[in-house]
Subunit: 340 residues, 2 copies
């Protein structure tokens, strides 16, 4: 219900005039804290006037007045990834439950000059949640002087901030265990060539797991985070001289899709000739054929945990450090290696 000639939004003063009260009364009534301060008939008149004028509070003015905004900024490296969309969803849910909002800032990859997240966010902020950021990007965020929560990032990058990290090392250990116990010994790590904590951790954990098994080796094949790049990388790895690897351990489900394509192009069947594993358990994992053996890493839980951590930080409590468990989902893309 709006009414005014478009262009001029109604202010609380307009509502006050229409209801025959002062602006302060309008603020009290609509702020829901008028009990015992305003009589019911007056309150009702104010609400009616507000409704009739289509009044919406000016958020800028409110933020300015209150000094806090009940708004968090979520910084993600890329939005096109389902993973970060899910992180957002988790954070937004917890935020909504606590009267907060979440504004998204996809840290631009080359879009103009490196912009300042705080001003580009276009909203006044109470705190920042940064997901999967490299150390330098984090440093910039810390200069904001706002409470900071790091998700999926190296705890060493900022000892002071709260962190929420999925147990990726454990996940990779489970994948390695799964493959090794199936009898695989020659593994390829189709590794995301991205400088971030998660991927470093995945590499470290895989190497460690393999090191514990005599005769097992892992060759690392780096790739960009795209299906085609992963296909090329996997094809390289499968075509190298010497005995063929029997398992492709991919840093995420998208790369695993590329690996599957590589196998097929070389005339190899998955999983009979070569096993493939993913990571994250996105929609893609079960959309592919065969369905991917992967590790489910609940991005929603990461986002939700991040928002919780931020809320406790905003209450002045000391930074927390949470951890999100992961689960192996053995599916159709892995099997025992072919007989030598």
């Amino acid at each position: 219900m709006r009414s005014d000639p478009a262009g001029a939004r109604a202010t609380s003063r307009d509502v006050a005039r229409a209801a025959g009260v002062s602006q302060a009364t309008v603020s009290l009534v609509l702020g829901e804290k008028w009990h015992g301060r305003v009589s019911e008939p007056t309150a009702e008149a104010v609400r009616a006037a507000a409704e009739q004028l289509g009044y919406r509070p000016n958020l800028a003015a409110r933020s300015l007045r209150l000094g806090r905004t009940r708004t968090a900024l979520l910084v993600v490296p890329a939005l096109t990834s389902e993973f970060f969309a899910r992180v957002y969803a988790g954070a937004a849910r917890v935020a909504a439950d606590n009267g907060f909002g979440v504004v998204l800032y996809p840290s631009p990859e080359g879009v103009g000059p490196a912009q300042d997240p705080f001003t580009s966010a276009r909203a006044a902020l109470d705190g920042v949640i940064a997901s999967s950021m490299a150390a330098d990007a984090l440093a910039a965020l810390q200069d904001g002087g706002l409470p900071l929560v790091m998700l999926d990032s190296d705890p060493a990058d900022s000892a002071a901030a709260a962190t929420v990290n999925p147990e990726v090392a454990d996940g990779m250990r489970q994948i390695a265990g799964h493959l090794l116990s199936l009898g695989h010994r020659r593994l390829v790590h189709v590794a995301a060539a991205v400088d971030s904590w998660t991927f470093r951790e995945r590499a470290r954990s895989l190497a460690e797991a393999v090191r514990g098994v005599p005769g097992a080796v892992v060759h690392t094949e780096p790739t960009a985070l795209e299906v085609e790049a992963a296909r090329a990388a996997a094809e390289r790895a499968l075509s190298r001289p010497g005995p063929r690897p029997t398992a492709l351990v991919c840093d995420d489900d998208l790369l695993a899709a590329g690996a599957c394509k590589a196998a097929r192009r070389l005339g190899l069947r998955v999983p009979e000739d070569v096993s493939v594993t993913g990571f994250d358990d996105l929609t893609l994992a079960t959309a592919l054929e065969p369905e991917l053996t992967t590790v489910r890493l609940s991005a929603e839980q990461v986002g939700a945990g991040g928002m919780h951590a931020l809320l406790t930080a905003l209450e002045g409590r000391p930074p927390t450090s949470a951890t999100i468990p992961v689960t192996l989902f053995p599916r159709a893309s892995t099997a025992a290696p072919p007989p030598a």
Copy 2:
């Protein structure tokens, strides 16, 4: 570079004090419009003080003062879809080129009470871009009194607003033409059971195209927008009594993935026994095997077009109505039907 004891952010007045000038001068200098009003040494002193104090303008105060915010709200039905992430990317790019920002509002599907996008957005807004919204949701957005641009929505829902629509009807016509010319006559439309303009348009266009060819029929099988639901739907369609359909026309790539799984579960090969087509050309389309024949609908262009339309609207010019062309990408998931 921040310095103050955390908690108290530096204001322009603090900078002024540090630089030995008035607050107005700080505003002039940092506003880049000081030429001929402030001497170079003074300006330099201000900039130095600002840097040293880690000054960042208070966005709420600035918005309040200026009355406009150079910020647009993008309302999308769901963020987990790569499609909308791309719409955002396109809009954000154009926005950045024009000194604007974009704040995202994923219209929640059941998250608490139907929230008001304008207040939940947490930012003061200049305009709204709504993507793929149903009529009732659009009506709510129009009450905001802000310039509105509709993407991928029924132009009839609001004659007044600007629209940017991909030529989905043309896309579906191309898909139908492709299949019909390959010789297919018994089609199934694996149709998204979502009340929105695009999907209505796709159904309409497909029906129309088939109607023009004697002996061609299309059976509609509705499904939720999920891989598993689509698989079930496609399995139903392929198992119906009577001659088996030879092509599954899916409303988007995700549904096509489900259709492929259905075919495989029934022992049918794609494309030899049954052809499958997608829509949108997301990453998924080329991650699958076989790669999907699909229609590329540039979500980036839709987003970019939406932002352009909003910018012209903000200049007071009359609402525009743009259209985004689509292109058929014939790939490996379609072939001639098997001989009867």
